[in-house]
Symmetry: C2
């Protein structure tokens, strides 16, 4: 896997340029769509040279992935842990309601759909996505479910990876295939029904 | 919604041409990918005039949808009901194992991925897909779950649409995002875990 992010020193020197590139990519893909998104267009909007972009990212898909990653990290540089109040049902409902809201946000929906389509078409970008976003997110989900196993809320012999798919697969699929609205009520009911089979 | 299929009389007269077009579209998209699939290329491969295709289908996406639909219908002209042996777990495992195998078949995977991506990009094709394939399939799934409610295998107050998403959402999402292999064992475990929460 090619490095797609500058080392610590370079990053410190050029963080403003990096942020400008990611914001430009995010805005532009929402405006023109993925097929017409170009490194040239991103560079122009960000006010940097094309070479600056090519130095850090191998493709426009990789730029967009980092832009989405920056959003997921809320500018904090790392993805936040899932809430853990000791009530797994309430916590998961809160998380899935937030996911539903995020996926329905018109500002976020366009860039995320563009990235999803590109991941489906490009196995290399899919691998980068798995490494940079999907795997870290899955680790956090697994941690939260493990904690619920420790408190006895969830079954001890649960296949946690399968449980994660049962909780998040339906909402992601509904969004991808536009097969229904992502309301807070939907998120709540999905968690209730999935959890019914996962409990101790 | 534009009509995408000839009326009964026209269909009888031109069924061989229709089949040739669908087979050509299915083969070609596997060979050249969706972006390079064209009505012209389909017409050439099928040995029909371009106008014949334009008369019946509004776009290459609509042709591909019908090609996939013909596959789902196994040439019988209508989608088959789900097996109902009275054992909902065994029946669903059989269905999901077949789905896993189909989605992993290299001959089928290419055209299906091309169609999925196009559905995500094109809301009109998404509506056509919902009407022609997704809704009829969901009706069959709902019927099978209703039958299991009648025999007391599944809870009476179950939200069947949500139950369908819980059973089929994870496998569809795993396939779309290439996030894991679609093995018979995976299909079996998914059914077991999902059903655990759906039982009476």
């Amino acid at each position: 896997m090619a490095a797609v992010r500058p080392g610590p020193d370079a990053a410190r020197r050029s963080e403003p340029a990096r942020r400008a590139v990611l914001e430009a990519a995010f805005e532009l893909v929402g405006e023109v769509g993925y097929p017409r998104l170009s490194i040239e267009g991103i560079a122009r909007r960000a006010g940097v040279g094309k070479q600056t972009i090519y130095r850090w990212w191998p493709s426009k898909g990789a730029v967009l992935l980092d832009a989405v990653l920056a959003l997921a990290q809320g500018g904090e540089g790392q993805t936040a842990a899932l809430p853990d109040t000791g009530d797994v049902e309430a916590d998961l409902k809160r998380v899935l309601r937030a996911t539903a809201q995020e996926l329905s946000d018109p500002r976020i929906e366009g860039p995320l759909r563009a990235l999803s389509v590109e991941i489906e078409l490009d196995p290399e970008l899919a691998a980068l996505y798995a490494e940079r976003l999907d795997t870290p997110m899955k680790d956090l989900k697994r941690e939260r479910l493990k904690s619920a196993q420790r408190t006895g809320e969830l079954a001890q012999d649960l296949d946690l990876d399968l449980a994660i798919e049962l909780l998040w697969g339906p909402i992601q699929n509904r969004w991808l295939m536009r097969s229904g609205p992502l309301t807070p009520g939907y998120a709540n009911e999905l968690v209730e029904l999935a959890l019914a089979g996962l409990r101790a």
